[in-house]
Subunit: 395 residues, 2 copies
């Protein structure tokens, strides 16, 4: 009796989540220290101490009626939105103000708000494989059609020729995610410039507006000083979806924002629509205490050296065992080539060693598996002998 | 370039919100103390001190990785769901366990989750006027059709004959909201039993499942010892949507839950669908800190005597001025008859005295206006001379 759309969704439900729940089951049997759960992007680095301080300060300073009340605008507290805008301006030389910022229930909430605001049934949304599988669900929520660009498994940069060919008059949005989940790849400035030029030309060709949606939960997680270009500076019709889930280790608190710049087509209308969509999708407003927390922590960063040590150890460890993998420049994922064509078979084999990894099919890229290395260093170190045993099966 | 559905939504955007934003504008000009803003159900009673204590304790006691992390299930922390279930069982003699509870981003999030889980395009959802206007938007989100039962302006109890006549083979859900927004009326046990009997008979007649969705943000706000029946006990296919927005004065924090009982048709599937809907709509999980807070505050209640004083003062004050109004038994709203047929005209007249009230059209009940009396007592007292001036216009 559940809806037909949901029947399909439940049937194809997230393998990531299933794996994560399996991890908890195994931890119950074998003890958490004997399970190597690389399934979910749930940060193991605690929120910085300033988050705790910020919450304590807010409890002392703020009137609880304001602190826990509805915000005047569904877009969030004006002071928080101003602070976010100014912080972005200082970092990226942009020119945003409060009106350009809509506080959201994480990036997932923000993506739903913007897709609800934009999509008519049958509109196309382009994503570059491998991509976060939820993009398909979010697009489907508003009867859009997800159009996939096949992966370049050499570099995991977007295939721009195929991209250009697949843009149609129905293309309403293009989602990019850099640093990327699941590959850790960062799109270079050159790539972004080429993408922007293609989209500009296609907008002219079709007389349409094509929005670039930049999903940026991993922006702050970039290693070795690599630059992550700020996309509004390269393409006018850009909307940014940000989350503090990873940068402040607050994934459960559901706090992020959308940036809709004045330069975007129909900016005023789109901002108004995002406001209404926030309300009618049932978010109403981003959680208020956390809005005030992030305002106090705008200059705070998660301890990236922690993830970097994990990255180096796991990457080199797996390479030494003969696994093939591109070295990630950002985020906290390794995207490893499965030693057998059917990577689900490989995931099943890994589970025998209590290693939990996610099949690439979940990211529209079969033949690969994703490892989330936002785990403890001990998990990484202790998993390597298990990976060695696993590797032996494929020698 | 925004979606056609959103064009309509923005055009018909919430009059309540517009009024609330107008209130803030007027407060900026005349000073907050000279504006009588009865527009929004934003509680003026601060969250109980135990909420503050709970947050402080959680910061000291809990591992931040757990406290702010993704929950194992999208339905929320198992311990929180167990505690909510046990608390309901103790209060209402029900038999729920953790699996029956899905923690949600407020009641608005919960209603979206359950409607997404249930509705196929064209399915009908029945609501009794006057009703919270957002039900129409939530239904429309999933291409359902809202079917309205006209108001009984004598008692504001549901018109059961019209209800019976309007149930069809396409009726998928019926939303009730008791204590009611905007009338403050509580549906009696007798009414509920009659409704249940009608729905049972119609399910048999059509061979369908018709879900009763009980939207209960005002459950704890009942005056004079009036009983608010717990609906799962009267009708098997009941789903409850609850929110702590009013009971703990946490509307901005977006925390509530759904109850899907084992007795509901296709319960297992519906619980699974709600889980997936929570994820793909972008909620992912209810905010984690607040989940833990409500667990610690399950026996806490807002100070209802505060609202009761407001209720008595405003109700009697308006009656003495000649306004017509049913005395509310719950919630924090008065639904007052407009002295002129076009209640928008009356709202405009009220605004001249800095009195902000919401037209009944927003609740599918023109000719009436809603006053939210979750304001300070001073606002009530000081507004009465202004209402007296307003009343004179209609003598």
């Amino acid at each position: 009796m559940i809806s037909k759309k949901m029947e399909n969704m439940v049937a194809n439900s997230s393998a990531i989540r299933a794996m994560f729940e399996e991890g908890n089951r195994l931890a119950g049997i074998y003890g958490a220290e004997n399970v190597y759960d690389f399934s979910l992007g749930n940060p193991n680095v605690p929120a910085p101490e300033t988050v705790k301080d910020a919450i304590r300060e807010l409890l002392n300073e703020e009137d609880p009626v304001v602190l826990h009340g509805y915000t005047n605008s569904n877009a969030g507290y004006e002071d928080v939105r101003t602070a976010v805008a100014e912080s972005l301006n200082a970092k990226f030389g942009t020119d945003f103000s409060a009106k350009n910022i809509t506080m959201t229930v994480g990036a997932a909430g923000g993506l739903n708000v913007i897709l609800k605001s934009l999509l008519n049934p049958g509109d196309e949304v382009i994503a570059f494989a491998p991509y976060f599988g939820e993009y398909r669900s979010y697009t489907n929520n508003y009867d859009g059609v997800l159009v996939e660009i096949s992966p370049d498994t050499e570099t995991f940069q977007p295939k721009l020729d195929e991209f250009e060919a697949k843009i149609t008059a129905k293309t309403k949005a293009v989602i990019v995610n850099t640093p990327n989940n699941p590959t850790g790849v960062v799109y270079s400035e050159e790539t972004i410039k080429k993408m922007a030029a293609i989209m500009e030309a296609k907008q002219k060709e079709f007389g349409t507006d094509i929005y670039l949606i930049s999903d940026e939960p991993y922006r702050e997680l970039a290693y070795d000083g690599v630059e992550v270009p700020y996309l509004t500076k390269y393409y006018a019709n850009t909307v940014v979806g940000y989350s503090y889930s990873k940068s402040l280790s607050l994934p459960g608190e559901r706090i992020g924002y959308l940036v809709i710049p004045n330069e975007a087509a129909d900016s005023e209308k789109l901002i108004g629509a995002a406001n209404v969509a926030t309300r009618i999708l049932g978010f109403v407003n981003a959680p208020t205490l956390q809005q005030k927390v992030v305002k106090k922590c705008l200059n705070e960063k998660t301890d990236i050296s922690y993830y970097n040590r994990n990255r180096e150890t796991l990457y080199h460890g797996l390479k030494e065992l003969g696994f093939e993998c591109i070295k990630p420049e950002g985020a906290f994922y390794l995207f490893v080539k499965s030693p057998v064509a059917d990577e689900k078979e490989f995931c099943a084999a890994a589970k025998k060693y209590n290693i939990l990894i996610v099949p690439g099919t979940s990211f529209a890229c079969p033949g690969y598996v994703r490892l989330a290395y936002c785990v403890s260093y001990e998990t990484i170190v202790n998993s390597l002998p298990k990976f060695a045993e696993l590797a032996k099966e494929y020698k």
